[in-house]
Protein backbone atom coordinates (compact mmCIF):
# COMPACT_ATOMS: atom_id res chain seq x y z
CA UNK A 1 0.00 0.00 0.00
CA UNK A 2 1.22 3.44 -0.79
CA UNK A 3 1.63 6.10 1.83
CA UNK A 4 -1.07 8.63 1.14
CA UNK A 5 1.04 11.75 1.34
CA UNK A 6 4.51 13.05 1.02
CA UNK A 7 5.84 14.62 4.13
CA UNK A 8 8.86 16.79 4.60
CA UNK A 9 10.88 18.56 7.20
CA UNK A 10 11.56 22.18 6.56
CA UNK A 11 15.23 22.77 7.27
CA UNK A 12 15.98 24.85 10.32
CA UNK A 13 16.85 28.42 9.45
CA UNK A 14 20.21 28.37 11.18
CA UNK A 15 21.44 24.97 10.15
CA UNK A 16 24.77 24.83 8.37
CA UNK A 17 23.19 23.08 5.43
CA UNK A 18 20.44 25.64 4.93
CA UNK A 19 20.96 27.52 1.65
CA UNK A 20 21.60 31.16 2.25
CA UNK A 21 20.67 33.92 -0.07
CA UNK A 22 21.48 37.60 0.02
CA UNK A 23 18.69 39.80 1.32
CA UNK A 24 16.10 40.71 -1.23
CA UNK A 25 17.10 38.16 -3.82
CA UNK A 26 13.84 36.19 -3.54
CA UNK A 27 10.65 37.00 -5.37
CA UNK A 28 9.59 39.42 -2.65
CA UNK A 29 10.98 42.85 -2.09
CA UNK A 30 12.48 43.93 1.22
CA UNK A 31 9.29 45.76 2.14
CA UNK A 32 7.00 42.77 1.81
CA UNK A 33 5.15 41.52 4.80
CA UNK A 34 4.53 37.88 5.35
CA UNK A 35 1.46 36.07 6.50
CA UNK A 36 1.13 32.39 7.21
CA UNK A 37 -1.73 30.59 5.48
CA UNK A 38 -4.81 30.40 7.66
CA UNK A 39 -5.81 26.96 6.45
CA UNK A 40 -2.57 25.33 7.56
CA UNK A 41 -3.02 23.27 10.72
CA UNK A 42 -0.38 23.83 13.37
CA UNK A 43 0.35 21.49 16.25
CA UNK A 44 2.92 22.74 18.72
CA UNK A 45 4.87 19.86 20.23
CA UNK A 46 7.59 20.49 22.81
CA UNK A 47 8.59 23.85 21.37
CA UNK A 48 8.58 22.56 17.82
CA UNK A 49 5.64 22.29 15.47
CA UNK A 50 3.99 20.04 12.96
CA UNK A 51 2.33 21.90 10.10
CA UNK A 52 -0.19 20.31 7.83
CA UNK A 53 -1.11 21.92 4.52
CA UNK A 54 -4.60 20.72 3.54
CA UNK A 55 -4.23 21.44 -0.16
CA UNK A 56 -0.81 20.00 -0.85
CA UNK A 57 -1.39 17.29 1.81
CA UNK A 58 2.17 17.78 3.02
CA UNK A 59 3.23 17.86 6.62
CA UNK A 60 6.24 19.84 7.76
CA UNK A 61 8.19 19.90 10.95
CA UNK A 62 9.42 23.23 12.29
CA UNK A 63 12.15 23.45 14.89
CA UNK A 64 12.03 26.11 17.59
CA UNK A 65 13.62 28.85 15.47
CA UNK A 66 11.49 28.03 12.46
CA UNK A 67 8.40 28.11 14.66
CA UNK A 68 9.39 31.54 15.93
CA UNK A 69 9.67 32.86 12.38
CA UNK A 70 6.43 31.15 11.39
CA UNK A 71 4.63 32.79 14.30
CA UNK A 72 6.05 36.14 13.31
CA UNK A 73 4.50 35.81 9.87
CA UNK A 74 1.33 37.58 10.96
CA UNK A 75 0.91 39.88 7.97
CA UNK A 76 2.49 42.84 9.72
CA UNK A 77 6.16 41.90 9.86
CA UNK A 78 8.73 42.15 7.11
CA UNK A 79 11.79 39.93 6.91
CA UNK A 80 13.70 42.76 8.57
CA UNK A 81 11.26 42.85 11.46
CA UNK A 82 11.52 39.13 11.97
CA UNK A 83 15.30 39.26 11.82
CA UNK A 84 15.21 41.96 14.50
CA UNK A 85 13.17 39.66 16.70
CA UNK A 86 15.77 36.94 16.29
CA UNK A 87 18.53 39.30 17.40
CA UNK A 88 16.95 39.48 20.84
CA UNK A 89 17.19 35.69 21.18
CA UNK A 90 20.27 34.60 19.26
CA UNK A 91 23.73 36.04 19.31
CA UNK A 92 23.98 36.81 15.62
CA UNK A 93 24.38 39.97 13.60
CA UNK A 94 21.54 41.51 11.63
CA UNK A 95 22.78 40.58 8.13
CA UNK A 96 23.15 36.93 9.17
CA UNK A 97 19.72 36.91 10.77
CA UNK A 98 18.18 38.52 7.71
CA UNK A 99 19.82 36.00 5.39
CA UNK A 100 18.56 33.13 7.49
CA UNK A 101 15.05 34.56 7.72
CA UNK A 102 14.83 35.21 4.00
CA UNK A 103 16.13 31.77 3.22
CA UNK A 104 13.51 30.26 5.47
CA UNK A 105 10.75 32.47 4.07
CA UNK A 106 11.75 31.26 0.61
CA UNK A 107 11.35 27.74 1.90
CA UNK A 108 7.91 28.50 3.31
CA UNK A 109 6.92 30.14 0.03
CA UNK A 110 8.20 27.16 -1.94
CA UNK A 111 5.91 24.92 0.10
CA UNK A 112 3.00 27.32 -0.39
CA UNK A 113 2.74 27.98 3.32
CA UNK A 114 2.51 31.76 3.04
CA UNK A 115 -0.29 33.96 1.79
CA UNK A 116 0.25 36.95 -0.41
CA UNK A 117 0.22 40.29 1.40
CA UNK A 118 0.48 43.82 0.16
CA UNK A 119 3.74 45.69 0.52
CA UNK A 120 3.77 48.29 3.21
CA UNK A 121 7.25 49.31 4.10
CA UNK A 122 9.96 51.48 2.81
CA UNK A 123 13.00 50.41 0.81
CA UNK A 124 14.98 49.58 3.92
CA UNK A 125 12.83 46.61 4.68
CA UNK A 126 11.72 48.22 7.92
CA UNK A 127 7.94 48.18 8.16
CA UNK A 128 5.67 50.74 9.72
CA UNK A 129 5.32 48.77 12.94
CA UNK A 130 9.04 48.39 13.38
CA UNK A 131 10.37 50.34 16.37
CA UNK A 132 12.81 52.15 14.17
CA UNK A 133 10.07 53.18 11.78
CA UNK A 134 7.78 54.24 14.59
CA UNK A 135 10.54 56.37 16.01
CA UNK A 136 10.87 58.41 12.84
CA UNK A 137 7.21 58.66 11.98
Amino acid sequence: MAVSTVASTIPPPFSASAPSAPPGCGSDGPSDRFRRRKDVTVHELDGEALLFHPLTANSHRLNATALLIWTACDGRNTAGDIAEQLLSIYEIDLPSALRAVESFLDELRRHDLLEATESGAGPTGISANHPAARGTA
Binding site: M1, V3, S4, T5, A7, T9, T41, H43, L45, D46, E48, A49, L50, F52, A57, S59, H60, R61, L62, N63
Partner: protein, 305 residues
Protein backbone atom coordinates in the same frame (compact mmCIF):
# COMPACT_ATOMS: atom_id res chain seq x y z
CA UNK B 1 -18.70 -29.31 -17.63
CA UNK B 2 -18.23 -27.40 -14.41
CA UNK B 3 -17.41 -29.52 -11.36
CA UNK B 4 -16.74 -26.50 -9.20
CA UNK B 5 -18.35 -26.91 -5.77
CA UNK B 6 -20.43 -23.98 -4.57
CA UNK B 7 -18.52 -21.40 -2.55
CA UNK B 8 -18.81 -21.43 1.21
CA UNK B 9 -18.35 -18.46 3.47
CA UNK B 10 -16.49 -18.50 6.78
CA UNK B 11 -16.46 -15.53 9.14
CA UNK B 12 -13.58 -14.43 11.32
CA UNK B 13 -13.41 -11.77 14.02
CA UNK B 14 -9.76 -10.75 14.17
CA UNK B 15 -9.76 -8.21 16.97
CA UNK B 16 -11.63 -5.23 15.59
CA UNK B 17 -11.39 -6.51 12.00
CA UNK B 18 -14.08 -8.74 10.57
CA UNK B 19 -13.37 -10.89 7.55
CA UNK B 20 -15.57 -13.18 5.47
CA UNK B 21 -13.73 -15.69 3.31
CA UNK B 22 -15.90 -16.89 0.46
CA UNK B 23 -14.39 -19.64 -1.66
CA UNK B 24 -15.23 -22.90 -3.39
CA UNK B 25 -11.62 -24.05 -2.90
CA UNK B 26 -11.85 -26.37 0.03
CA UNK B 27 -8.11 -26.71 0.42
CA UNK B 28 -7.73 -22.98 0.81
CA UNK B 29 -10.68 -22.75 3.18
CA UNK B 30 -9.05 -25.40 5.36
CA UNK B 31 -5.70 -23.65 5.18
CA UNK B 32 -7.18 -20.34 6.30
CA UNK B 33 -9.24 -22.00 9.02
CA UNK B 34 -6.20 -23.85 10.36
CA UNK B 35 -4.46 -20.53 10.83
CA UNK B 36 -7.39 -18.57 12.23
CA UNK B 37 -9.75 -21.13 13.78
CA UNK B 38 -9.73 -19.47 17.24
CA UNK B 39 -11.21 -16.38 15.63
CA UNK B 40 -13.88 -18.08 13.55
CA UNK B 41 -17.44 -16.98 14.13
CA UNK B 42 -20.34 -19.36 13.66
CA UNK B 43 -22.73 -16.50 13.14
CA UNK B 44 -22.37 -14.26 10.09
CA UNK B 45 -20.60 -11.01 10.91
CA UNK B 46 -22.10 -7.79 9.58
CA UNK B 47 -19.82 -5.30 7.81
CA UNK B 48 -17.10 -7.90 7.33
CA UNK B 49 -14.45 -7.42 4.65
CA UNK B 50 -15.57 -10.04 2.14
CA UNK B 51 -12.82 -11.81 0.24
CA UNK B 52 -13.81 -13.99 -2.71
CA UNK B 53 -11.20 -16.52 -3.75
CA UNK B 54 -11.92 -18.66 -6.78
CA UNK B 55 -10.22 -20.37 -9.68
CA UNK B 56 -10.08 -18.08 -12.69
CA UNK B 57 -8.52 -20.31 -15.30
CA UNK B 58 -8.33 -24.05 -15.52
CA UNK B 59 -6.65 -26.44 -17.89
CA UNK B 60 -7.29 -30.15 -17.77
CA UNK B 61 -8.77 -29.82 -14.32
CA UNK B 62 -5.78 -27.94 -12.97
CA UNK B 63 -6.09 -24.35 -11.81
CA UNK B 64 -3.66 -22.09 -13.67
CA UNK B 65 -4.81 -18.84 -12.17
CA UNK B 66 -6.84 -17.71 -9.19
CA UNK B 67 -8.84 -14.57 -8.70
CA UNK B 68 -9.17 -12.59 -5.47
CA UNK B 69 -11.88 -9.96 -5.08
CA UNK B 70 -12.48 -7.85 -2.01
CA UNK B 71 -15.90 -6.40 -1.34
CA UNK B 72 -16.75 -7.01 -4.99
CA UNK B 73 -13.59 -5.42 -6.42
CA UNK B 74 -10.91 -7.33 -8.25
CA UNK B 75 -7.58 -7.23 -6.42
CA UNK B 76 -5.15 -10.02 -7.31
CA UNK B 77 -4.75 -12.95 -9.67
CA UNK B 78 -2.04 -15.21 -8.27
CA UNK B 79 -0.98 -18.27 -10.22
CA UNK B 80 0.13 -20.56 -7.40
CA UNK B 81 -1.86 -22.03 -4.56
CA UNK B 82 0.79 -21.12 -2.01
CA UNK B 83 0.46 -17.48 -2.99
CA UNK B 84 -3.21 -17.39 -2.01
CA UNK B 85 -2.90 -16.96 1.74
CA UNK B 86 -0.46 -14.00 1.61
CA UNK B 87 -2.54 -12.33 -1.10
CA UNK B 88 -5.76 -12.79 0.87
CA UNK B 89 -4.06 -11.24 3.89
CA UNK B 90 -2.87 -8.39 1.73
CA UNK B 91 -6.34 -7.94 0.24
CA UNK B 92 -7.92 -7.59 3.68
CA UNK B 93 -5.26 -5.07 4.69
CA UNK B 94 -5.86 -3.10 1.53
CA UNK B 95 -9.53 -2.72 2.29
CA UNK B 96 -9.23 -1.56 5.88
CA UNK B 97 -8.67 2.16 5.25
CA UNK B 98 -11.93 2.23 3.29
CA UNK B 99 -14.10 0.22 5.65
CA UNK B 100 -12.71 1.33 9.01
CA UNK B 101 -12.53 5.13 8.95
CA UNK B 102 -12.89 5.24 12.72
CA UNK B 103 -9.29 4.04 12.99
CA UNK B 104 -6.13 5.84 11.97
CA UNK B 105 -4.06 3.13 10.34
CA UNK B 106 -0.28 3.10 10.41
CA UNK B 107 2.15 0.75 8.76
CA UNK B 108 3.64 -0.42 12.01
CA UNK B 109 3.60 -3.33 14.36
CA UNK B 110 1.85 -2.79 17.66
CA UNK B 111 2.19 -4.51 21.01
CA UNK B 112 0.82 -4.11 24.51
CA UNK B 113 2.83 -4.46 27.68
CA UNK B 114 1.01 -4.24 31.01
CA UNK B 115 -1.57 -1.85 29.65
CA UNK B 116 0.84 0.33 27.68
CA UNK B 117 0.50 0.42 23.91
CA UNK B 118 3.74 0.41 21.92
CA UNK B 119 4.00 1.26 18.23
CA UNK B 120 6.98 0.06 16.18
CA UNK B 121 6.87 2.10 12.99
CA UNK B 122 9.24 1.56 10.13
CA UNK B 123 9.68 0.59 6.55
CA UNK B 124 9.59 -2.96 5.35
CA UNK B 125 12.77 -4.71 6.49
CA UNK B 126 13.20 -2.65 9.64
CA UNK B 127 12.45 -5.65 11.81
CA UNK B 128 8.91 -4.89 12.96
CA UNK B 129 7.63 -8.46 12.69
CA UNK B 130 10.78 -9.98 14.15
CA UNK B 131 10.58 -7.67 17.15
CA UNK B 132 6.88 -8.38 17.60
CA UNK B 133 7.52 -12.12 17.54
CA UNK B 134 10.43 -11.97 19.96
CA UNK B 135 8.59 -9.68 22.38
CA UNK B 136 5.53 -11.90 22.19
CA UNK B 137 7.67 -14.86 23.16
CA UNK B 138 8.95 -12.88 26.17
CA UNK B 139 5.51 -12.10 27.55
CA UNK B 140 4.38 -9.00 25.68
CA UNK B 141 0.93 -9.12 24.18
CA UNK B 142 0.30 -8.92 20.51
CA UNK B 143 -1.87 -6.40 18.69
CA UNK B 144 -0.65 -6.63 15.09
CA UNK B 145 2.56 -7.05 13.10
CA UNK B 146 1.57 -4.87 10.17
CA UNK B 147 -0.85 -2.25 11.49
CA UNK B 148 -1.21 0.11 14.35
CA UNK B 149 -4.95 0.73 14.51
CA UNK B 150 -5.56 3.86 16.55
CA UNK B 151 -9.16 4.65 17.42
CA UNK B 152 -9.62 8.27 16.47
CA UNK B 153 -11.91 9.07 19.42
CA UNK B 154 -10.29 7.16 22.27
CA UNK B 155 -6.74 7.27 20.81
CA UNK B 156 -6.29 3.69 21.96
CA UNK B 157 -4.42 1.04 20.02
CA UNK B 158 -6.67 -1.85 19.07
CA UNK B 159 -5.82 -5.47 18.21
CA UNK B 160 -5.87 -6.94 14.75
CA UNK B 161 -4.19 -10.25 15.56
CA UNK B 162 -3.39 -11.45 12.10
CA UNK B 163 -0.78 -14.16 11.86
CA UNK B 164 2.76 -12.78 12.07
CA UNK B 165 4.36 -12.84 8.65
CA UNK B 166 8.06 -13.71 8.85
CA UNK B 167 10.49 -13.54 5.97
CA UNK B 168 12.98 -16.31 5.41
CA UNK B 169 15.66 -14.14 7.00
CA UNK B 170 13.81 -14.50 10.30
CA UNK B 171 14.10 -18.29 10.37
CA UNK B 172 16.98 -18.35 12.81
CA UNK B 173 15.06 -16.04 15.16
CA UNK B 174 12.07 -18.36 15.17
CA UNK B 175 14.37 -21.28 15.78
CA UNK B 176 16.10 -19.53 18.66
CA UNK B 177 12.79 -18.56 20.21
CA UNK B 178 11.54 -22.10 19.85
CA UNK B 179 8.53 -20.99 17.83
CA UNK B 180 6.78 -23.04 15.21
CA UNK B 181 5.26 -21.75 12.02
CA UNK B 182 1.86 -22.44 10.61
CA UNK B 183 1.86 -25.89 9.03
CA UNK B 184 5.50 -25.55 8.20
CA UNK B 185 5.09 -24.79 4.51
CA UNK B 186 6.34 -21.68 2.85
CA UNK B 187 4.10 -19.14 1.24
CA UNK B 188 5.11 -16.87 -1.59
CA UNK B 189 4.45 -13.18 -0.94
CA UNK B 190 5.37 -10.93 -3.84
CA UNK B 191 8.66 -9.09 -3.49
CA UNK B 192 9.14 -10.41 0.05
CA UNK B 193 9.71 -13.84 -1.40
CA UNK B 194 8.98 -16.88 0.71
CA UNK B 195 7.38 -16.18 4.07
CA UNK B 196 5.97 -18.21 6.91
CA UNK B 197 3.20 -17.42 9.36
CA UNK B 198 3.30 -17.60 13.13
CA UNK B 199 -0.01 -17.89 14.88
CA UNK B 200 0.28 -15.71 18.01
CA UNK B 201 -2.11 -17.94 19.92
CA UNK B 202 0.25 -20.84 19.37
CA UNK B 203 2.92 -18.89 21.20
CA UNK B 204 0.72 -18.26 24.24
CA UNK B 205 -3.00 -18.67 24.84
CA UNK B 206 -3.17 -15.13 26.29
CA UNK B 207 -1.14 -13.63 23.49
CA UNK B 208 -3.69 -11.12 22.24
CA UNK B 209 -3.49 -7.70 23.82
CA UNK B 210 -6.32 -5.44 24.93
CA UNK B 211 -6.99 -1.92 23.65
CA UNK B 212 -4.35 0.30 25.18
CA UNK B 213 -3.28 3.95 25.08
CA UNK B 214 -0.14 4.63 23.08
CA UNK B 215 2.67 5.17 25.58
CA UNK B 216 5.69 4.55 23.36
CA UNK B 217 6.42 5.19 19.70
CA UNK B 218 9.55 3.40 18.51
CA UNK B 219 11.21 3.70 15.11
CA UNK B 220 13.33 0.56 14.72
CA UNK B 221 16.10 -0.07 12.26
CA UNK B 222 18.09 -3.25 12.18
CA UNK B 223 21.81 -3.58 11.76
CA UNK B 224 23.45 -6.96 12.13
CA UNK B 225 25.83 -7.03 15.06
CA UNK B 226 24.97 -3.54 16.23
CA UNK B 227 24.77 -2.66 19.90
CA UNK B 228 21.07 -2.07 20.63
CA UNK B 229 20.44 1.58 21.49
CA UNK B 230 17.48 3.84 22.05
CA UNK B 231 17.73 7.51 21.18
CA UNK B 232 14.95 9.90 22.18
CA UNK B 233 13.29 11.69 19.32
CA UNK B 234 11.26 14.92 19.45
CA UNK B 235 7.51 14.63 19.25
CA UNK B 236 7.21 16.81 16.16
CA UNK B 237 9.74 14.62 14.38
CA UNK B 238 7.92 11.50 15.56
CA UNK B 239 4.59 12.84 14.33
CA UNK B 240 6.13 13.61 10.96
CA UNK B 241 7.57 10.12 10.71
CA UNK B 242 4.22 8.59 11.66
CA UNK B 243 2.61 10.71 8.96
CA UNK B 244 4.90 9.03 6.46
CA UNK B 245 3.60 5.57 7.35
CA UNK B 246 -0.08 6.48 7.64
CA UNK B 247 -2.44 4.71 5.26
CA UNK B 248 -5.56 6.81 5.72
CA UNK B 249 -4.59 10.27 6.86
CA UNK B 250 -7.39 11.81 4.81
CA UNK B 251 -10.06 9.19 5.01
CA UNK B 252 -10.34 8.65 8.73
CA UNK B 253 -13.08 10.25 10.76
CA UNK B 254 -10.87 12.93 12.29
CA UNK B 255 -8.07 14.87 10.61
CA UNK B 256 -5.16 12.45 10.71
CA UNK B 257 -2.57 15.02 11.77
CA UNK B 258 -4.72 15.95 14.78
CA UNK B 259 -4.78 12.31 15.84
CA UNK B 260 -1.04 11.89 15.30
CA UNK B 261 -0.27 15.04 17.29
CA UNK B 262 -2.42 13.83 20.18
CA UNK B 263 -0.88 10.38 20.07
CA UNK B 264 2.70 11.64 20.29
CA UNK B 265 1.76 14.10 23.03
CA UNK B 266 0.89 11.15 25.23
CA UNK B 267 3.87 9.02 24.25
CA UNK B 268 7.62 8.82 24.63
CA UNK B 269 9.29 8.55 21.24
CA UNK B 270 12.58 6.85 20.37
CA UNK B 271 14.68 5.61 17.51
CA UNK B 272 15.80 2.06 18.12
CA UNK B 273 18.95 0.62 16.67
CA UNK B 274 18.24 -3.06 17.08
CA UNK B 275 20.83 -5.76 17.01
CA UNK B 276 21.02 -9.08 18.82
CA UNK B 277 17.40 -9.94 19.51
CA UNK B 278 17.57 -10.81 23.22
CA UNK B 279 19.57 -7.67 24.03
CA UNK B 280 17.20 -5.58 21.97
CA UNK B 281 14.15 -7.00 23.75
CA UNK B 282 15.78 -6.48 27.16
CA UNK B 283 16.48 -2.86 26.27
CA UNK B 284 12.85 -2.34 25.30
CA UNK B 285 11.68 -4.00 28.51
CA UNK B 286 13.89 -1.68 30.52
CA UNK B 287 12.28 1.21 28.70
CA UNK B 288 8.65 0.26 29.18
CA UNK B 289 9.10 -0.84 32.80
CA UNK B 290 11.41 1.95 33.78
CA UNK B 291 14.15 -0.61 34.38
CA UNK B 292 12.25 -2.65 36.91
CA UNK B 293 11.77 -5.75 34.83
CA UNK B 294 14.75 -6.35 32.62
CA UNK B 295 14.64 -10.13 32.61
CA UNK B 296 11.24 -11.35 31.53
CA UNK B 297 11.13 -15.14 31.26
CA UNK B 298 10.90 -16.32 27.73
CA UNK B 299 7.83 -18.31 26.85
CA UNK B 300 8.30 -21.11 24.42
CA UNK B 301 5.79 -22.33 21.93
CA UNK B 302 2.99 -24.23 23.57
CA UNK B 303 1.48 -25.84 20.53
CA UNK B 304 3.34 -27.64 17.80
CA UNK B 305 1.69 -27.50 14.41
Amino acid sequence: MNHEPPPETSFYQLGVVRAAINTPIRRFRDEYRALYYPFESVAPLPNAVTVDVRPARRLLGRCLRYRIDVNGRFRFSPTKFHELLPYVEWAVNWELPRVMPEYLQLHASSMEFEGAGVIFAGDSGSGKSTLATALLARGWRYLCDEFALIHTASLQLHPFPRAICMKRSGDHILERLGLTTHRGPRYLKGVKGYVSFVNPLQVRPDAIGCPAPVRFVIFPSYSCGAEPTLVPVGRAEAALDLHRVCFNLFSCQRPGTDVLAEVVRGASCYRLQSGEIDQTCALLEDLVTGGTRSAVPRVRSLVAC
